[in-house]
């Protein structure tokens, strides 16, 4: 078989497929041609959390991911501080979601809190694209309106290379890839189960969902979390000066300052090893935060009071840890709230 001849035929087939897809896919999936570069969000946002702030008349709102959810008891914190606290933990979130929570939830609430505490770790604050695509996208959509130019620019458009931008706009096979994958996934997931064992869509979803809700092996989970953290430890992400202006951090600070909100950044502890380069990054971040007005930093990353007994894995607290950490946190926040 002559490779040159196969290549020529391959190009012809490929052009044929691309052309056919170019006509059919935009029509089939209702995608404009050229497709917009930016991700599109639904207009509405989740309003339960706005209600929560208003009903609790929260003066301190806590934002973070599952580390906040597992690590802080907001009711206990309220009683220890004597200040109404309300936590908005969004498991699986990153700084893009936190920016949206600040802009679209906290600032839209009738009751304006005086303090907002953001729970972060390593380089999360300056990696705008972290946890924004794939399975994380719907989570962002919960807090995004249909007009989020900054979110689109920082988390999506600025992260795309020229080939990706071209493909997204002009190659419908690429711009419709999420829809095509979903169709393929649905075909593989539901049709055979229905034909073979008479299990309908709901039955299949329940069955598959049951695996994902299982108790997990903590050693394996730790390994996976370390693998995931590699994104945050990439050399370019640990260059604070280069990253900060392209991140949500300055915008979050500006939003808070314009609305008389004090921002408290809470750096949580990670059990285990961290890259040496993170020390420089953390130093730069700390200096940056301390230069800002109405911004505070609480650093638990090397706190000896937080021991292995507190944690179920390298990030998350157990019940005992949650109780103890809430006390430690209250103690640290007390002095800031008194200022």
């Amino acid at each position: 078989m002559k490779s040159k001849s196969v290549f020529t035929r391959y190009l012809l087939f490929l052009c044929g497929f691309l052309l056919a897809g170019g006509f059919y896919l935009p029509f089939h999936y209702n995608i404009p041609f050229p497709a917009p570069l930016a991700a599109e969000f639904e207009p509405g946002i989740k309003t339960e959390t706005i209600k929560g702030i208003n009903e609790n008349r929260a003066d301190l709102v806590l934002i973070g991911d599952s580390v906040l959810k597992e690590g802080v008891d907001d009711e206990e914190l309220s009683s220890l501080l004597g200040v109404n606290s309300y936590a908005i933990p969004v498991p699986g979130s990153g700084t893009a979601a936190w920016y949206l929570v600040l802009k679209n939830v906290i600032l839209k609430a009738e009751h304006r809190p005086k303090y907002v505490a953001i729970f972060f770790r390593n380089t999360m604050l300056t990696v705008p694209q972290y946890r924004t695509t794939g399975k994380y996208f719907p989570l962002l959509d919960d807090y995004a309106t249909d007009d989020e130019p900054l979110l689109v620019e920082l988390a999506f458009t600025s992260q795309m290379n020229p080939i990706e931008k071209f493909s997204k706009q002009y190659i419908p096979w690429y711009s419709a890839r999420l829809e095509i994958r979903e169709d393929l996934d649905n075909l593989l997931r539901y049709r055979p189960a229905s034909l073979l064992i008479g299990c309908n869509r709901e039955c299949t979803d329940n069955a598959v969902g049951s695996i994902f809700g299982r108790e997990v092996d903590s050693a394996a989970l730790n390994q996976m979390m370390e693998d995931a953290a590699e994104t945050l430890y990439a050399p370019e992400e640990m260059n604070f000066q280069k990253q900060v202006d392209e991140s949500f951090l300055p915008y979050m600070i500006q939003l808070a300052q314009e609305n008389d909100i004090n921002l408290i950044f809470v750096r949580t502890k990670i059990l285990g090893l961290e890259p040496l380069e993170l020390t420089d990054y953390a130093g730069s971040l700390d200096s940056y935060l301390l230069q800002q007005e109405h911004v505070f930093l609480v650093d638990f990353s090397r706190d000896p009071r937080i021991t292995n007994e507190f944690q179920i894995d390298s990030l998350h607290m157990n019940e005992f840890g949650r109780r103890e950490f809430t006390k430690i946190l209250a103690n640290e926040l007390q002095s800031i709230l008194e200022e």
């Binding site: 990706e164 073979l196 996976m224 090397r302």
Partner: protein
Amino acid sequence: MQFTSYAFLLFFLTVLVLYWAAGGRRWQNLILLAASFIFYGWLAPWHSAVLFASIAVDYFLALAMVRWKPRAVLFMWLGLSLNIGLLAFVKYYFTFDEILAAWAGGFGISSDHFLSFIILPLGVSFYTLKKISYLIETARGTLQPARDFIAYAAYISFFPQVFSGPIDRPQKLLSQLETPRVWASSHFYNAWQLLLMGLFKKIVIANTVKVFVDQIFLMKEPSKVFLIVGGLGFTLQILADFSSYTDLSRGLAFLLGLQTTENFNKPYLALTPGEFWNRWHISFSSWLRDTIFFPLRRTLLKMQRLPGFLPEIIPPLVTMFISGLWHGTGLTFITWGLYYGVLIVIYQWIGIRGNWKPANGFGRFLAWLMMFLLIVFGWIIFRAPSMPWLWNALVYSPLYRSVDELTASLVLAIMIAFYASLLLLKYMLELAWPSRENIHAFYYAAATLLTLVFMNSSSPDFIYFQF
């Protein structure tokens, strides 16, 4: 810098233009060497410094072996100690770090001082094997040491294979680097199918199957049906992932006018464990065979006092044990290696060796099925988070806990079968219509579209980087 990243595309295109524009062997090798060090030091520049130092040491040791022949063995052992020492340091760094932190804690020194790690260099396992081959063969006198340092350094650090092989012998790759290369269109026509299939296997198959394989091996106590489905999924994932790296590596090498070793030859069609290792990670298994298995066997055969069965048993066990150890420091890897050692011994014991083949089709099918199941079980050992986890799953877990589990297993098995069929289809087309160009061109075009559709779906890391 991943082969599948945009940064790598820009990097490689720049190298390619400079490389072919330069002309002349010396300039080409120099560009290759510079590119390899930039590529290797992308994460941390000191990685390249370590690589350069270790290359320089081996280069001079090999020359010294020829210059002072009576001391060649001494120089060889010095080189082997340094190389294996570096490999052991990288493999066991985290164990050392934790021991040191615990020890310091005992003296009241905060272990926080040690709770930071350096980004360890990748690919040490691969280039160390190249260097060991080079030292041993030079000491044996079967290889003349390279005089051209640039060519030798480019051979060891060759960027398309520095992280995950193939582990090319000096006779194969170094000899090509010592001869002039001229651009020919055949370089491109040899490369494009490999590059395309590499991207397809990685992006469409390996990354997709990884999602549910990870989920199953993350469960605390999976039932046996999940273990089976997870094992089948990982069997597909690791082949697609590792062979995709080899395809990309070989495709890139072809574009540079260099032909490197084919690493996989339909390994899951093997009928015996010996045949599996002749088809899987070929450059590594042939390295093990020539560097450990045969020399050990020859040595044992010379020992007349030894019982006759020991030279049959010890070499496969030791070789496979080392193979397991090379893959990782965990007990699962060592068990996996020994598992293959024991399988080879058992197969030999019942008279089944190497390329054994039953006479009739049904016999061949049974032999294949048996071997395939043994391979899947081997991958379950390999992928298990720990040995206690595996033991619990094998011994104490029920076959299934609920109808939901059976349904979910069926759905996942269908997905695995679908993604496996994409690879199987290619094998079948090659078998049924080896010269029907339209069919093959159609397959490649469809594979390109699927790659486009599956881009950015999940983790881009290659499994074999960690070894």
